[in-house]
C-alpha cells in the first residue's frame, strides 16, 4: 500500500460504490425512510450517491477531521440536505439515520474486500466511526437550527397577525386581543396601541379580551400597564369581553382591574360613543312618494 490507509479506503469505496450504495439504501428503506412518503426512492438514491461521492473525495485527501477544509463540500451537502429535511417535516430519527446507516455498508465493504489485515480493519472502523459520528452530529445541529428558525419565524408572524388596532369611529379605537398575553406580546401590543392613538388622535381605546384564553395575575398586570400607558397619552381605556369563567377566576385570584369594564365590545362601544357625546339612532325610512 503506497498511499495512506485512508486513501486505500477511498479506493475501496470507489471500487464497491454500487454495492455500498445499494446496501445503504436497503438499510434506509428497512428503517422506514420511504414509508412516510415524504421522499421517493430515486431522490433518496441521488442524495446518497452525492454524499458518498463527496465523502470518498474527502477521504482520498487522507483526513478524518471533519472540521477541516477538505470536508467543506461534505458539510455543505449535509447542511443543505438537513435543512430541506427539517422544513419538509422529517423526524429527527429519519434525518440522523441517513448518516448513521452508512456505517454498516462501509464496514461490510471493508470486511468483504479481504485485502486488509485485522489491525488495519480495526483502524479503518475506528476512523470511519469517528468521522461519521461527527458528521451525524453536524447534521442534527443543522436540523435543530432549521427547526428553530421555523419556530422563530412563526412566532413573529403570529405576533404581527394577532395585534391589530382597529378604528371603530373617529377617536375610538378597538384592540381585539387574541391568544395568551406574555410580556413580549404586551410590549408589541402597547407600542401598536400608543402609536395608533397618536396617529388617529384617539380619545378612547377599547381593549377586547374575548380571545384571551386565561387571565392570571401576570396577564392582568400586563393589561393594567397598557391601560396606564394609554392614560398617560391622554386616552381612556375600556376593557371588554371578559368571559364568565375568567371573571370568576379573576375575583378568586384577587385580581383587580381598576378600569371601566364591560361585558361585550358592543356595550363598551356604546359607552365610548356616549363619552364623545354621540349616539346611534334609528333612521325612520321615508317611503318616497311619487308626485
Amino acid at each position: 500500500m503506497a498511499r495512506s490507509p485512508l486513501a486505500a479506503l477511498a479506493q475501496l469505496i470507489s471500487e464497491q460504490e454500487t454495492t455500498i450504495l445499494n446496501d445503504w439504501l436497503e438499510l434506509l428503506a428497512a428503517a422506514g425512510s420511504l414509508e412516510s412518503g415524504r421522499i421517493r426512492e430515486a431522490e433518496l438514491r441521488t442524495q446518497c450517491g452525492t454524499f458518498l461521492k463527496l465523502f470518498r473525495v474527502a477521504l482520498t485527501d487522507g483526513d478524518t477531521d471533519t472540521n477541516s477544509a477538505v470536508y467543506s463540500g461534505v458539510r455543505d451537502n449535509l447542511s443543505e440536505l438537513s435543512r430541506s429535511r427539517a422544513t419538509h417535516g422529517f423526524s429527527p430519527r429519519e434525518t440522523a439515520s441517513f448518516i448513521f446507516s452508512l456505517k454498516e455498508p462501509l464496514f461490510s465493504a471493508v470486511n468483504r474486500s479481504g485485502k486488509f489485515g485485522a489491525a488495519e480493519v480495526a483502524q479503518f472502523i475506528r476512523q470511519l466511526t469517528l468521522a461519521l459520528d461527527d458528521l451525524g452530529l453536524y447534521t442534527m445541529e443543522v436540523y435543530q437550527k432549521s427547526r428553530e428558525q421555523v419556530i422563530i419565524r412563526q412566532q413573529r408572524e403570529i405576533s404581527e397577525l394577532s395585534t391589530p388596532v382597529v378604528k371603530l369611529w373617529d377617536g375610538i379605537l378597538a384592540l381585539p386581543l387574541i391568544g395568551t398575553l406574555d410580556s413580549e406580546r404586551t410590549q408589541v401590543v402597547m407600542e401598536n396601541l400608543l402609536q395608533t392613538i397618536v396617529d388617529q388622535a384617539a380619545e378612547i381605546a377599547i381593549i377586547d379580551i374575548t380571545g384571551v384564553p386565561t387571565v392570571d395575575t401576570l396577564t392582568a398586570q400586563h393589561l393594567l400597564k397598557t391601560v396606564a400607558a394609554a392614560r398617560l397619552m391622554g386616552a381612556d381605556c375600556i376593557v371588554s369581553g371578559i368571559r364568565p369563567q375568567i371573571a370568576q377566576t379573576m375575583v378568586h385570584l384577587g385580581v383587580e382591574l381598576n378600569v371601566i369594564s364591560k361585558a361585550t365590545l358592543a356595550d363598551a362601544f356604546a359607552v365610548a360613543l356616549k363619552r364623545m357625546s354621540k349616539a346611534v339612532v334609528t333612521v325612520k325610512t321615508v317611503t318616497a312618494q311619487s308626485s
Partner: protein, 129 residues
C-alpha cells in the same frame, strides 16, 4: 442658568418643555411654576412634553410633584403630548402619574381645563346661592 418659559394663557399657564430636562432645570421649573400660579391666580397648568424624548424617574416624580402642588393651590395640571416611548418608560418605572390629568395635545388639554373650571365654578355658584 437657563429656565423654561411659563406662558400665561387666560386662566391657565402653559409650559412647553423643548429641551432635555436635567435635574436642576426641573427643580427650577417647579419653583417658578408654584410662584406663577399664585401670582396669576391660575386655575390650570398645561405641561406640553411632546418634545421630550427622555424621561427618568426624577422627571416623572417632578410631574407628580407639580400636580400635587398645583392641586393645593387649586389649579388642575394636565400633561399633554406624551410620546408613546415615554409613556411606556414611565409605566415600566412604575410611575403611572395617578394625580395628573393627561390629554393628547394642547388643544384638548385646554378644553379639559376649561371644562373642569366651568364645573368648579358651577359648584361654587351652587354653594353661593
Amino acid at each position: 442658568m437657563d429656565r423654561i418659559p411659563i406662558l400665561k394663557l387666560g386662566d391657565a399657564l402653559l409650559v412647553t418643555i423643548q429641551v432635555d430636562m436635567h435635574d436642576r432645570l426641573a427643580t427650577a421649573l417647579e419653583d417658578d411654576l408654584t410662584n406663577k400660579i399664585v401670582k396669576h391666580n391660575a386655575h390650570g397648568v398645561l405641561i406640553d412634553i411632546s418634545a421630550l424624548e427622555i424621561v427618568d424617574s426624577f422627571i416623572g416624580r417632578m410631574l407628580d410633584n407639580i400636580a400635587a402642588v398645583s392641586r393645593v393651590l387649586d389649579a388642575e395640571t394636565v400633561v399633554v403630548g406624551m410620546r408613546p416611548a415615554v409613556a411606556i418608560t414611565l409605566v415600566e418605572l412604575g410611575l403611572s402619574l395617578a394625580g395628573v390629568k393627561t390629554a393628547l395635545n394642547v388643544e384638548r388639554g385646554m378644553a379639559l381645563i376649561q371644562r373642569h373650571h366651568v364645573l368648579e365654578q358651577g359648584a361654587d355658584d351652587d354653594i353661593a346661592s
